[in-house]
């Protein structure tokens, strides 16, 4: 009886320790992150019994699943039908535990400096509250992707429908670092990375941001995620091939993981936008090969709060986000 108890104890310990709160080493062949639009019509359906079978292939390829911060709230004005309540009730153990049980890392895209809140500490405080439902179900957060804080913090370049904090570079860096320190004070094992657009920012600017955060402020950037607008090159005096290789080498030297967002024009991934999304994937893979992670993302209408017709399911339907993931991953193999 005693030996049976010991076996059970050892087994329970192994199971309990088998899912580290730190990112650990995800399988090398799983480098995809799925990031559905917060207002996508079937976000909760993905976890419901009837929806799980509609993305089984995509799910088996996932390293991570990313939620928008606002999707984790009980009430969200621009999330369509999605609330944290629906995610928790979609499956008995909740959507977050469901992902963890399938060895899929959970991530959140969050604002560290946003046009509506330029204070990094305040944004960290809000995020700490927002991620509570994840931990409440016994799951844990693996990464936080900061949603373009330098874009929101610095004065706008050209015409922009969004406001800006109009901070200096130095002040923006201070606020971003404050966000990272404040969040890590509560969740020290969560990886925090940076998203910024290119060629809106030049590679020199992007590397300056990262250097300043790491060298001046002493905060580690776990990953850099490139929001590459292939069309914006019309008006930018850039050399994409040279730039992306420079960025890759810079990040490798600092042991920062390089991630790339794959999405269609205007953040859409419907059937008509598939070609532009694949063009982005094809071009990036041709220049730098396979990055550490590829994020298949839809943010259509998120910012404007107009609702979205973005669909994640089924993976057999051309233009659904899971279909794009299944077909786009091959470009990077």
């Amino acid at each position: 009886m005693k030996s049976q108890f010991l076996i059970l104890l050892v087994a329970a310990t192994v199971v309990g320790c088998g899912r580290p709160t730190s990112p650990g080493g995800a399988p090398a062949d799983r480098f995809a992150i799925l990031a559905p639009a917060s207002a996508s019509t079937d976000l909760a359906t993905m976890f419901e019994p009837g929806g799980q079978s509609q993305w089984s292939q995509a799910r088996s390829r996932l390293r991570g699943f990313q939620f928008y911060q606002q999707s984790l709230r009980p009430v969200c004005m621009n999330c369509g039908p999605n609330t944290v309540g629906r995610l928790l009730n979609a499956v008995p153990s909740g959507a977050f535990r469901y992902l963890q049980d399938h060895d899929i890392q959970i991530g959140v895209e969050a604002g560290s400096v946003k046009e509506h809140t330029c204070d990094g500490r305040e944004n960290a405080r809000v995020l700490i509250e927002d991620v509570q439902p994840i931990y409440a179900t016994g799951a844990h957060l693996t990464f936080v992707a900061m949603d373009e804080p330098f874009t929101a913090g610095l004065p706008a370049r050209g015409v922009s429908p969004f406001g800006r904090c109009n901070l200096s570079i130095d002040d923006t860096i201070v606020q971003v670092a404050a966000f990272m320190r404040s969040f890590r004070a509560t969740y020290p094992d969560v990886r925090i990375g940076l998203i910024e657009p290119y060629p809106y920012f030049t590679i020199d600017e992007l590397t300056t941001f990262i250097r300043a955060l790491e060298d001046n402020e002493g905060v580690d950037v776990a990953f850099f995620r490139l929001d590459f607008d292939v069309r914006h090159r019309y008006n930018a005096d850039t050399n994409t091939k040279v730039d992306l290789r420079r960025l890759r080498d810079f990040l490798a030297e600092r042991r920062i993981e390089f991630e790339v967002i794959v999405t269609g024009y205007d953040g859409r991934t419907d059937a008509a936008s598939v070609a532009s999304a694949m063009a982005l994937a094809y071009e990036v893979s041709g220049i730098i090969g396979r990055p550490h992670s590829v994020v298949f993302q839809d943010w259509s209408s998120d910012r404007l709060g107009l609702g979205s017709s973005a669909q994640n399911l089924p993976e057999t339907q051309v233009g659904s986000l899971t279909w794009l993931l299944n077909n786009g991953l091959g470009v990077f193999r």
């Binding site: 292939v230 019309y234 050399n239 059937a271 008509a272 070609a275």
Partner: protein, 278 residues
């Protein structure tokens, strides 16, 4: 009149074109320098050698006129449009001696091709390329001398290259886009340095070739290829010669480029060529 305007007038507007180099058969040989003008007709049937090429057999026809003033035009439809490739030249001899012929030409090449870039399951991702190169070229060709037993001429040129990259998706026979989506439009000044080659071979065969290295200046997006090479070659044999019908040759021809963004219809294409000069 600028050479670009001359080229524009020479070509039918909006015709798609692929290649950079004038047909060697259209270039007046030094020994022809003082001869009367002649007409040349050509037909090529070529196919792709690499997966990134347009996956169909292309049939090109060409017509040229040699002499003190010369012109040439090559046309090839693509799989999806009647105007897949156009290449036109217009020039004249600047100086002609017993040993050298120096000429000036303007050229315009226009490629309008569709290439399969990626395929998975039933989905096909296509690149719809539009590439244009306009060049002003000065060439010198020797009649009695060959360097390394092969090179008989040199040419230099300068001009401009334009690239418009478009993409489209397809599932089976269903197009996902009403029309290809433009993802990049860019251009850059280009310079060109080339050599022409010829050599008699065995069994009455003759070999001709032309190698061009094209370097581009800075382009938005860095897309216009820098320092790429294009090699056109032909091995042919005279199949008839008469005072009435002129001279006919039949041979194997090919085009090879180090960049899939060069202004050639196929990056690697090989086929047959039939030419008649009269």
């Amino acid at each position: 009149m600028s050479w670009t305007l001359a080229a524009a007038l020479f070509l039918v507007p909006s015709l798609p074109v692929p290649v950079v180099l004038p047909d060697p058969a259209l270039i007046a040989q030094p020994e022809q320098a003082n001869a009367g003008a002649s007409w040349q007709l050509a037909m090529r049937v070529t196919g792709p050698m690499t997966t990134t090429d347009p996956q169909h057999v292309g049939i090109a026809i060409g017509v040229g006129r040699s002499g003190a003033y010369r012109a040439g035009l090559r046309y090839q439809p693509s799989e999806t449009t009647a105007l897949g490739f156009m290449h036109g030249t217009l020039g004249f001899r600047l100086r002609s001696t017993a040993t050298w012929t120096v000429a000036a030409d303007v050229e315009h090449s226009h490629v309008w091709s569709a290439r399969r870039l990626y395929r998975t399951g039933g989905f096909q991702f296509e690149g719809h390329d539009r590439r244009y190169v306009s060049l002003g070229v000065v060439s010198a060709r020797a009649s009695r001398r060959k360097w390394f037993g092969l090179i008989d001429g040199v040419e230099v040129g300068a001009g401009r290259m334009v690239i418009r990259n478009m993409v489209a998706g397809r599932v089976g026979s269903t197009a996902l886009n009403d029309e290809p989506v433009l993802i990049l439009k860019t251009a850059a000044p280009v310079g060109m340095l080339g050599v022409t080659m010829s050599k008699p071979l065995f069994w009455g065969l003759a070999g001709d070739g032309r190698l061009r290295v094209i370097g581009a200046g800075r382009s938005r997006g860095g897309v216009v290829p820098f320092a790429h090479a294009v090699f056109d070659w032909e091995v042919s044999k005279t199949i008839f010669r008469s005072g009435t019908y002129g001279r006919g040759t039949l041979g194997v021809t090919g085009t090879h480029s180090t960049s899939d963004r060069s202004a050639t219809y196929y990056q690697n294409g090989v086929g047959l060529a039939l030419k008649i000069a009269f």
